[in-house]
């Protein structure tokens, strides 16, 4: 290849990186070449384990101690120094030259805004530190520059925000603080490692917009590392797809999305759910795992039209410091039909997980009613005493978000799956083991793994173990709390398909809690949207996606980045009026005013929306 031209800020050539493990070299980056032109955005796309994060660590000189660059070059040419080229691969990682680049000329932000900031230092002091390291200012001036930067990334009251601690901020604000820290020295290159993966859609749209604006103002190039093709389509000028440490495909965003040529990229596009999927269309996982359909008889619900679960007026308040309290769940009610999947969507803090926990009796509800209509008649779930509750437990089970912490690392898979049966006294050890084997088949795992411990499994496999455990007692209803949000796209497709197959073959009923609209769209027949502890809109999937009535639902739908160049996010529309879940940004028809309380207004087709009592369906359609 030709030497780096002045227009490329970064040029990586034939980069090979190995990790030393127990005396063996394990090559994780195998001859990657890519470039980042000045002022442009290049997306580095791949699943976890593809080596994309390792590449970013190598650029920053932050490889773990056992990581070795065995070959290739990382050429950084600083536009401020007339394109003088520095080979980062040759620089000592902690030398002064590299430290000047780090934070000074190359900034970085990370996936976890929660843990990326120190909780014991104010955000202002952490941001100012970066400034003082590379562009020293007198104290007062430095504070002024820092406050200006805080204002630039969207903090409302910079002087006060300077004094705040990271744990006092929401995820979105934390990521803004990280951006301020990375950009305060006006670097030539920003490396963003999954910057919005942990954020809600509306917040994600805001942060993406902010990155674009800052790029325009400061003129830096962005290396955007992500697995979300929707984000790529909306942000990138060029795309590099990596798989197992090798570049599969590279080109402009137009080339990549309109004419994907490599089978891996095509498969990746097919594995992510989007809103255009037809009824009955399946996601295609990259690697197929074929579960064996369980032989149990499917539940038949004919002649019983009552819903399986009715929730009414559920309410929960959390106490907080200084005697104040937060109304986490406010008058929530819905029905789940037999064999149905009801999706519960909302941003973090909207109360959706609390609803699931209260139905499970994992948290105490302040008031409300949960009625389960089982084969033996109606059961008042919240009124059960501890003895009756234990007997009732097998009817409802739960699948959790985090596949790592939801399985005890000290129990074998067999013990994990058997535990519910032991607690409920189902059968003897032999029968339990047999059932465990059957369940392993059902979730597509090899029963020979039963004697292993959870740490030897991948995230997707662990989630399968969690599903097997939830199925062990043959439940009627399963509450799935964000079951795929910790997983990669391709693994996500496998798990979603597995859940769908199990639902069909066993006649299961799901309450599917998620913040990901595309996932809920794929799974649920009916969807309820939660904001600020209340259900603001509920309806059949097609209705809700075609004719969203509530302003919050509308902004949610608008904020989802789609992997489609013809339907790019309209950042200005998606962002109108600050936070989308703030009632102050909604038209008066949807606000809780003194004129009268809000109620669910029927729009027809089982579609209802939360609005002022006086409104008619017509008012709302026109609002």
């Amino acid at each position: 290849m030709a030497p780096a031209t002045p227009s490329d800020v970064l040029r990586i050539e034939d980069l090979r990186i190995s990790f030393e493990m127990h005396g063996h070299l394990n090559e994780v980056v195998k001859g990657v070449s890519l470039r980042v032109p000045a002022g442009r955005t290049v997306a580095l796309v791949g699943e976890s384990g593809s080596g994309k994060t390792v590449i970013s660590q190598a650029i920053m000189g932050l490889l773990p101690r056992n990581g070795i660059i065995s070959q290739g070059s990382i050429q950084f040419s600083d536009p401020l120094k007339d394109g003088k080229v520095l080979d980062i691969a040759q620089l000592p990682a902690d030398g002064s030259k590299m430290r000047k680049l780090r934070g000074g000329r190359i900034g970085m932000i990370f996936q976890e805004p929660m843990s990326s900031l120190s909780p014991v230092h104010t955000i202002g002091s952490q941001i100012e530190e970066a400034l003082q390291l590379h562009r020293p200012h007198p104290r007062k001036e430095a504070r002024a520059v820092t406050e200006k930067m805080l204002g630039l990334v969207g903090f409302r009251d910079p002087p006060r925000s300077y004094e705040r601690y990271s744990f006092e901020l929401s995820g979105g604000l934390r990521q803004r603080a990280m951006l301020a820290m990375a950009l305060i020295c006006h670097p030539a290159l920003l490396i963003a490692d999954e910057p919005t993966t942990a954020l809600d859609v509306t917040i994600q749209a805001q942060v993406l917009k902010l990155m674009k604006e800052l790029q325009r103002d400061i003129g830096m190039a962005i290396l955007l590392i992500t697995h979300d093709l929707g984000v790529v389509a909306n942000m990138a000028d060029e795309v590099v797809v990596v798989y197992r440490g090798e570049v599969m495909e590279a080109g402009t965003v137009e080339d990549i999305f309109r004419r994907p040529s490599h089978p891996y990229l095509k498969a990746l596009l097919k594995a992510s759910p989007d809103f255009d999927m037809q009824e009955g269309e399946r996601l295609v996982a990259l690697r197929n795992v074929a579960p064996v359909a369980p032989t149990r008889a499917k539940r038949v619900y004919e002649g019983n039209s009552a819903p399986l679960l009715s929730v009414r007026h559920l309410r929960k308040t959390y106490g907080s410091k200084g005697g104040g309290s937060v109304l986490a769940v406010d008058d929530v009610g819905f029905d789940i039909g037999r064999g149905e999947c009801l999706g519960l969507v909302g941003e973090s803090g909207s109360g959706k997980t609390t609803v699931g926990n209260m139905i499970m009796r994992a948290r105490k509800a302040d008031s409300g009613e949960v009625v389960f209509h089982g084969e033996k008649g109606a059961v008042d779930v919240l009124g059960l005493d501890s003895h009756a509750l234990k007997a009732f437990r097998p009817h409802m089970q739960m699948i959790f978000q985090d596949p790592v912490s939801s399985l005890s690392p000290r129990m074998t898979v067999l013990d994990i799956i058997r535990e519910p049966m032991i607690i409920q006294g189902r059968g003897d050890a032999n029968a339990q083991k047999q059932r465990a084997v059957e369940l392993m088949h059902a979730v597509g795992l090899d029963p020979r793994f039963l004697n292993r411990y959870p740490h030897s499994f991948s995230g997707g496999q662990r989630q399968r173990i969690g599903i097997a455990r939830a199925l062990a007692l043959d439940p009627d209803l399963i509450i799935c709390d964000e079951p795929v949000s910790a997983l990669d796209v391709s693994v996500q497709a496998q798990i979603l398909n597995l859940l769908k197959d199990l639902q069909a073959s066993l006649g299961l009923t799901y309450l599917f809690v998620s913040h990901n609209l595309a996932v809920v769209h794929y799974m649920a027949e009916r969807i309820a949207v939660m904001a600020r502890g209340r259900i603001v809109e509920i309806g059949p999937r097609q209705e809700l996606f075609r004719n969203p009535a509530h302003p919050y639902t509308r902004s949610l739908l608008k904020a989802v980045p789609l992997p489609d160049l013809d339907r790019k996010l309209d950042f200005d529309v998606a962002m109108s009026g600050g936070t989308a879940s703030d009632p102050a940004s909604w038209p008066t028809e949807f606000r809780d005013t003194k004129d009268g309380p809000l109620r669910m207004i029927d729009l027809g087709n089982e579609h209802s929306v939360l609005a002022a009592e006086r409104c008619t369906a017509h008012d709302i359609r026109c609002a």
């Binding site: 902690d94 680049l101 780090r102 970085m108 990370f110 900031l117 970066a130 820290m181 106490g319 410091k321």
Partner: protein, 332 residues
């Protein structure tokens, strides 16, 4: 923050009341008391105890009164600074403990100081050079320090000091200074004797401290904010001290609470072996002879120090960690 401190102080009161009641009950539990032990001991030696004196003391200290009343006499006395009377030494408890307490505080203070000065650099080095040969070596030495009992270490020291240098290293000063008023020569003698017990008693503490610092720091070194600090361009040493080390201090500050009681107690056996004039052997003897006021007052004093120590830890933690200061008391 003020409310937080006030609440903490209020909680101390019931804690101490319950503790004192427990100590008092334990003191009363044995079937005999000091006087019976004393009379029996005298009888065993073929002598006659002065029964009138015994009767007088029994009356003076309310042994003829009900239990509850005696408890209140004792506790209220404690508040007034009257710690009771040591029957064995035949003088007030405060006089018995007197000089010994000062010496004990001196020994313990030096020990703790040495522990921190030695443990911090080693712990930090071990954590940042995990699984290196130096780490393994230092960890091994630390484990030795934890595993070998103090009194055994003391015996070994004494033996070799005697065999190689012909020295007697016991005691905290030359015997000629016993019960002498303080002067420069006495101070010099104390300083010359001090380092041996400090070294011996500190060995175990240093070992466990190194391990704790290493473990806590290793946890923090994995955290994302440390990477952020390095990504800013901070030099490695500065990034280490400002971020992970500061965070790992929380454990250390909570530990300060335990240090306070151990300043006056702890390492009794070593003190006995080295015949140190500290409070440890005194407590041991008081428990053996059922010298109830000496033992009880001592235990209650330790409890007070523990509670105060925890209070100091909590207040320091509040200052050090804004999460505790700003989020404490929030219910989930």
């Amino acid at each position: 923050m003020l409310r937080y401190i006030a609440r903490r102080i209020l909680i101390m009161i019931p804690t101490l009341l319950i503790t004192s009641a427990l100590i008092f009950t334990v003191m009363q539990l044995p079937p005999s008391d000091y006087f019976e032990t004393y009379v029996a001991e005298m009888a065993a030696q073929g002598e006659k105890a002065d029964m009138s004196r015994v009767e007088f003391l029994k009356k003076e200290y309310g042994f003829d009164k009900p239990l509850i009343e005696r408890y209140f006499l004792w506790v209220t006395g404690f508040v007034r600074g009257d710690f009771g009377y040591s029957f064995e030494y035949e003088m007030p408890v405060s006089d018995v403990v007197g000089e010994r307490l000062a010496l004990t505080v001196l020994v313990s203070f030096c020990t703790i100081l040495m522990t921190w000065i030695v443990a911090f650099p080693i712990g930090i080095y071990s954590a940042t050079h995990q699984y290196s040969w130096a780490d393994y070596g230092l960890t091994f030495i630390g484990l030795l320090g934890i595993a070998v009992p103090h009194f055994l270490l003391a015996l070994i020291f004494m033996y070799f000091a005697n065999v190689w240098f012909g020295l007697s290293i016991g005691g905290l000063m030359d015997p000629i200074y016993f019960n002498q008023p303080w002067n420069w020569a006495k101070v010099q003698s104390v300083l010359a004797h001090l380092w041996i017990p400090v070294l011996i008693i500190g060995a175990g503490g240093t070992g466990s401290m190194v391990r704790a610092i290493r473990a806590n720091l290793l946890d923090e070194l994995q955290k994302q904010y440390y990477v952020t600090a390095k990504a800013k361009g901070l030099p490695p040493g500065k990034a280490l001290v400002k971020y992970p080390l500061r965070m790992s201090l929380n454990f250390f500050v909570s530990h300060i609470g335990d240090v306070l009681p151990s300043i006056v107690s702890g390492s009794e056996l070593t003190a006995v072996v080295l015949s140190l004039q500290t409070t440890g052997p005194l407590l041991l003897r008081a428990l053996q002879s059922q010298d109830m006021y000496l033992a009880g007052s001592f235990l209650l004093f330790l409890s007070c120090l523990t509670v105060v120590g925890v209070l100091i830890s909590d207040i320091l933690l509040g200052f050090l960690d804004p999460r505790i200061r700003l989020q404490g008391g929030r219910t989930k």
